[in-house]
Amino acid sequence: MTYETLKASQKEAIKILENSYAKKRLSHAYIFEGEAGTKKFDTALFFASLLLCSDANKKPCGQCHHCRRIQHQTHPNLYIVRPAKRMVVKDDIQELQKEFNKTALEDGAKIYIISEADTMNPYASNALLKFLEEPHDNIYGILLVKDSTKLLPTIRSRSQIINFHSLPEITIYENLIEQGFDPQLARLASAIHHTTDSAEAFLSLPNVYDLIDIVYALYEDLSQQKPLILTFEKEIFDVVKNTDDYQALLDIMMYYQKDLIYGKMNHHKNLIFDDQQAIMETILPHKTKAMLLEELQHMLSLKNNLNFYINERLAFDNLLLALERRTNHE
């Protein structure tokens, strides 16, 4: 991505960085907060280029040896931490510290980027905090997060937070329709994802139709009072293979569940799965609003727990059992 297109999509964030650079009022640490796909990482590279670019007239030029290596992520003064598994752990931060306790291989600023910094576990957070407490000259850190409240307050207070705005749902929807996607799929994808890119990526998953079919069949069986676990044993094994699949499946289920809740409240506008109304009607009499909300809560917490090392299959079965509950007065 060129810096021009980046500037167009994240005007405000870029402006803040450029101004503080021009006024020499840089913070030692920045938190870039925004949904996935809001170009936080590209902006972090832009910031590194701003600091290291050798073109005095037009910083960052994107052309010089510094800028080129920053884009290739091979610049020795640029250190990038990415969670190896699902979270940033203490070892990652210690490696970072080890690197920054030494002088730079090349002259100029040193920059570190911690991607998905909100997945830092407590040990990693405390190690990072200790590192932030002793600011070194010419070292700048950028933490990329979806939700800055998941960081320690003491880390937040030592950093400048820059917000990255996501596109409104309707814009993403329109973009997807323009690309020729089916309106219902576009509604679903734009509800789940906050940028056109990630929504498109979601719709391009090879098994996205299978996942939606599973959700449909699941609620259909629920309406017919079939035991969900037995029915879905095979399908889940064939289609849902890894954590990402479980995440996507849960995303779809959550919006189906939301439609159910809207249905319970007789709010029939803006439904995503409007072709499922017949099945929803047969489920709704057996569920109270509180139950539906509780089920949604269950899905949310399961989605959150998927980030940790849990037995996914077992946790999912647990959810299915919870969904089978009905009101007693039949």
């Binding site: 040896h65 080129r68 290596r69 290739h72 091979t74 610049h75 020795p76 990038i80 210690q94 510290q97 080890k98 920054f100 306790n101 030494k102 002088t103 730079a104 291989l105 090349e106 002259d107 070194h136």
Partner: protein, 374 residues
């Protein structure tokens, strides 16, 4: 790029360059050897980011037909050159990312790495550099680097503090339980300067320096230190921060002084540390100076057994009886860097650090903190 060179000469320099070759690095370009081919010389550059080596190769057998630069996967390149037959090896750039190596009956093409991703390493020589004898430099490294800390809790202690003050160069290393210090005289006076060089970098440098009468130039800089040795430039990054003030830790008055034969003391402590329930390297041994001026070295682990060694000091003992306990690992490592065959152990008290000095190890001291035992 196209040139020809004697294979053994090339291999000799490649093996030196290999010391800074990185096999585990986020930047794949650092797995490469950068080869700059100029009219009458080759320049080899390697770096693992902590240390970087640049070697200028000028040899009668070198015949450059076309200049150029290329980044070659280091591991494969060295192994290929090592196994080649014949006297001469010929190398040429086929296109942007292929290197052709020809020797005797072999014809090898190797995919090259992206040269543009290679860091721009400064091998800046300064006007004011310190010139010292290779052996002296090796001595100072050998006598200090071992005492650096291996744990990263206090990163600064993983380095050796090199200080220049007038006509003296001092190296200090400590892991906070023991300290080594060696001072050497310089031929000229220099401006005061100090840097903290990672112990690991110095150990790599040791492997490159040979045992000869050549000189090494040390070029100090705020961000890097450069060692120039014949045709080799060796750059190390430095540790940032302030090195703890160590001079106050070293006691000045020693009421008790005992002189030992070094080998006798080493073997006695080694035997005493055999029967330790802790792992053999970290056994605690006790030293007891008796009223009859004979020293007892003991260790006792109730579940294994007990060792008592009597060691006779080689000279008259100064001071009154003393009992002190310490880690056998620290004292053995310290004793082994002495060139003197007789060493003096100087005590200030039973729970105060003691230092070891040797007659033929001028301006060198090894300090060890005792261990408290009940």
């Amino acid at each position: 790029m196209r040139f020809e060179i004697n294979k053994d000469k090339l291999l000799y320099h490649l093996i030196v360059a290999q010391k800074a070759l990185s096999n585990k690095t986020p930047n794949p370009a650092l797995q490469g050897i950068k080869l700059d081919v100029l009219k009458d010389k080759l320049i080899l550059t390697t770096s693992n980011s902590d240390i970087s080596i640049k070697i200028t190769v000028e040899d009668a057998s070198l015949n450059v037909e076309e200049e150029g630069a290329v980044l070659i996967p280091g591991k494969y390149f060295i192994e290929i050159v090592r196994k080649l037959d014949g006297q001469l090896v010929q190398m040429s750039h086929l296109d942007d990312n292929l290197l052709r190596i020809e020797a005797d009956h072999s014809d090898i093409t190797l995919n090259t790495l992206e040269l543009d991703d290679y860091p721009n390493i400064a091998f800046n020589e300064k006007e004011n550099f310190v010139k010292i004898n290779v052996r002296t430099l090796k001595t100072i490294i050998r006598q200090t680097a071992f005492a650096t800390s291996t744990i990263e809790n206090r990163p600064i202690l993983t380095g050796v503090n090199l200080k220049i003050d007038g006509k003296k160069l001092t190296g200090v290393a400590t892991d906070s339980y023991r300290l080594s210090q060696k001072t050497i005289p310089l031929e000229e006076a220099y401006d005061t300067m100090q840097v903290i060089v990672p112990g690991k970098s110095l150990e790599e440098l040791m492997k490159i320096l040979e045992n000869n009468q050549d000189h090494v130039e040390i070029h100090f800089d705020q961000a890097r230190v450069l060692f120039k040795y014949n045709n080799i430039l060796f750059v190390s990054r430095l540790l940032e921060g302030n090195y703890p003030e160590t001079s106050k830790l070293i006691p000045q008055e020693f009421p008790v002084k005992i002189k030992f034969n070094k080998e006798t003391l080493i073997t006695a402590i080694e035997r005493a540390s055999l029967l330790s329930s802790r792992d053999g390297h970290n056994a605690i041994v006790k030293l007891d100076l008796r009223a009859d001026d004979i020293v007892e070295i003991t260790s006792n682990s109730p579940e294994i057994g007990r060792v008592l060694e009597e060691v006779y000091p080689v000279d008259e003992v100064v001071g009154s009886p003393i009992k002190i306990a310490f880690s056998s690992k620290y004292i053995l490592e310290a004793l082994k860097v002495f060139a003197s065959s007789e060493v003096t152990v100087n005590f200030t008290g039973e729970i105060r650090p003691f230092i070891i000095t040797g007659e033929y190890d001028e301006d060198m001291l090894q300090l060890i903190l005792p261990v408290k035992t009940d």
